[in-house]
């Protein structure tokens, strides 16, 4: 993927650029808002990572300018401002996701990938999600693995749906907190693991093939392939 990073803090920039390159992506780095906007209009990027506060031109202003000119590339806003209203401001300006510092690198990667693949399954009107022999009907709320029915509670269903809409993608704990529970604060994240282990008991325990996988240091992934 071709990624643009607009970030003025050197060590953060270095960390992100190194990490992304290691993960096999191409990265352009702009140190201020003007350079960022220039690069974003000159080149085509799969995803842009924009710091909320950069010199010369504010991160939100860059996004607004890009959106106004018709640029639809997904943007992830990076920020040191954690407040929920700041997040809402960022999304209102045209950002697609918001990540506060400090963050795990795995979190960044997962969110970027989710952004790029967004629009495929996530937003489709599909009413039946399928993965291997696991099938979930969003209308009837029937979940089946092969021929056996799986009974899920409300939030377990939402959790599985969230994973199923992002097959083969890493989903982090905070993404689950935000997406499934709409919790934009950080309660005890271990609880996600407890939830996930319950879900696994129902979905994977009695079957040979495991579909829900733990990705160390990042989160979870639903996939028909062994990891």
């Amino acid at each position: 993927m071709k990624i643009l990073l607009v970030e003025d803090d050197d060590s953060h920039a270095q960390f992100i650029v190194d990490g992304l390159k290691q993960a096999g992506h191409t990265v352009d780095h702009a140190k201020d808002g003007m350079d960022g906007l220039f690069l974003a209009t000159e080149e085509k990027y799969d995803v842009m990572i924009v710091d909320r506060m950069v010199p010369k031109l504010d991160g939100l202003a860059i996004i607004q300018a890009l959106r106004a000119s018709g640029n639809k590339s997904p943007v992830l806003i990076l920020s040191s401002l954690s407040k929920v209203d700041e997040r809402i401001k960022g999304l209102k300006a045209g950002g697609d996701d918001y990540l506060t510092k400090p963050f795990e690198f795995g979190e960044l990667i997962a969110r970027i990938e989710a952004l790029v693949r967004r629009g495929s399954l996530e937003q489709s009107e599909q009413t039946i999600l399928k993965l291997d022999d696991l099938e979930m009907n969003l209308l009837t709320r029937v979940v089946k693995r092969g021929s056996s029915l799986i009974e899920l509670k409300n939030k377990e269903f939402r959790l599985l749906e969230f994973l199923m809409r992002r097959p083969d993608q890493v989903v982090t704990r905070t993404m689950l907190l935000e997406g499934v529970w709409d919790f934009h604060f950080s309660p005890n994240t271990n609880l996600i693991d407890a939830q996930m282990s319950k879900l696994r008991q129902k979905v994977d325990k009695d079957f040979k093939k495991q579909l829900i996988h733990t990705v160390r240091g990042a989160g979870y992934k639903i996939s028909a392939q062994e990891v």
Binding site: F15, S82, K83, V84, K153, F183, F185
Partner: protein
């Protein structure tokens, strides 16, 4: 305010300062008017009496001069002549000498007491005429002789009657006027104060941009309003500065912490490092995360406490929030074999509020119950409406909080000594308390005997400005 009963409204009106000023004004005006009227009345009546006395005295003088000149019997003649001469129908003259009477009044009025100088007497008349009301001056002479000079008080009575009637009408009218005037004053003062009160109430409710309406009359109400407005502007500026600086602090703290974490993370990923060191660095990373979380909590508390955070208020379904939180903790509760009783009404309880903050408050309460109650404990979560409030309670049968710390528990960073081994920052209940305040409610901690009962009260219908 709507919803208040009439009697409460009246009571509060009676207590109001402007009403008291109105009453005072009213009483003062009435007293002045009455004193003035009474004075005018006595003044006019006594002047009329003076006049009559003067007429009577003039006749008495003339007669006494006649007596001096011609002797007492001459008076019969003088009286007759005077009666014939006078045009004044109100003048009565009688002279008595033994049984012999002369004059225009007979018989001799029996009420006359010759020892008194001036008397007022009333003589009944025939022909259904009103009795004759006279002011008389009687003088006695030797040999049973007596002279009576009387003057009809009809005019005075008429004057008195008229004056009394006019005065009463006048006082009634002035009473009415001063009453309406004081009501007007009360109303005007109230109206002007209302602008100020309304603005203050709105600002107190967090609508900081609200201002007092200044009408441009340049009176003291306008001055007060303008002063309050500039005070509010100043407060808003200060709050803005505080907000900006907390944002700046958040930014300035998070950036180096984040950098710190990146460096630690890079060390962990370094293959040349021993597992023991890696573990220690891992713990350091977690501590950094803990500091960031603590920082977030402090910011959330500050935001809720500043009462300015109504921008994010939306319609929220409290049942859903509480159910979500419970479901979030369900797996952990099961793991710790804690029993959970949930008492939530079937109909959704809606309210206006900050969804994230309320979720976090409920999470904090449930988290405490789960965290501090030992395995096999019993936790109860309930939700109900009470008037315009929603009440959520989380109670457990764990160790509870010792009575002497009950109040302190809501303070920032407070933790009971026994809890120091459990992870936590001591900010959980402070946040719940701040969230309650933001939603015009309260957090009450009580002894569940055994255990703790936390009651969160939130106002349902906060106006969002």
């Amino acid at each position: 305010m709507p919803g208040e009963s009439l009697s409460v409204k009246i009571k509060s009106a009676l207590r109001s300062f402007s009403f008291r000023v109105g009453v005072l004004f009213f009483v003062a005006l009435c007293t002045t008017l009455i004193v003035l009227r009474v004075h005018i009345y006595y003044q006019s009546v006594s002047t009329a009496y003076e006049d009559i006395r003067a007429i009577v005295n003039a006749h008495a003088e003339e007669i006494s001069q006649g007596i001096d000149k011609y002797g007492i019997s001459y008076v019969h003649y003088l009286v007759k002549a005077m009666i014939e001469d006078t045009q004044d129908k109100h003048l009565y003259l009688v002279f008595r000498e033994g049984k012999h009477l002369s004059g225009n009044l007979s018989p001799w009025p029996s009420e006359i007491n010759l020892k008194l100088h001036w008397q007022e007497i009333s003589i009944p008349q025939d022909d259904e005429k009103p009795p004759l009301h006279l002011l008389v001056k009687a003088t006695s002479y030797k040999n049973n002789g007596a002279l009576l000079i009387g003057y009809d008080l009809q005019r005075v009575d008429f004057l008195r009657d008229t004056l009394l009637r006019v005065a009463i009408a006048n006082i009634l009218l002035s009473l009415l006027m001063s009453f309406s005037l004081s009501i007007l004053v009360v109303w005007l003062v109230n109206r002007h104060l209302q602008f100020i009160n309304r603005a203050c109430e709105r600002v107190m409710r967090g609508q900081l941009q609200y201002r007092v309406l200044v009408r441009g009359a340049n009176d003291q109400f306008d001055k007060l309003g303008a002063n309050i407005n500039s005070m509010l502007d100043w407060i808003a500026t200060l709050l803005g500065t505080v907000r900006d600086s907390t944002n700046a602090i958040a930014h300035d703290m998070r950036t180096p912490l984040s950098r710190h974490r990146i460096e630690l993370q890079a060390l962990i990923d370094d293959p040349g490092i021993s597992p023991a060191v890696r573990e220690k660095i891992g713990a350091a990373v977690m501590r950094v995360d803990g500091i960031v979380e603590m920082f977030d909590n402090i910011l959330s508390i500050a935001k809720a406490e500043s009462r300015t955070g109504t921008e994010l208020f939306v319609e929220i379904n409290m049942n859903e929030i509480v159910e979500d939180v419970i479901e979030f903790y369900a797996a952990l509760l099961e793991e710790q074999r804690q029993q959970l009783t949930v008492d939530i009404p079937l109909t959704p309880l809606w309210m206006t509020g900050d969804k994230q903050l309320i979720s976090q408050a409920v999470v904090n309460l449930v988290d405490n119950a789960v965290k501090y109650t030992p395995e096999g404990g019993h936790i109860r979560v309930s939700l109900r409406a009470e008037g315009s409030f929603i009440i959520a309670t989380v109670s457990d049968n764990g160790p509870g909080i010792p009575k002497q710390f009950m109040n302190q528990a809501k303070e920032r960073f407070f933790r009971v000594d026994e809890s120091r081994n459990t992870p936590g920052t001591g900010l959980g209940l402070s946040l719940v308390n701040a969230v309650a305040t933001l939603h015009h409610g309260t957090l009450t901690l009580t002894d569940n005997d055994p255990g703790l009962c936390a009651t969160l009260r939130l106002s349902r219908n906060i106006e969002v400005g």
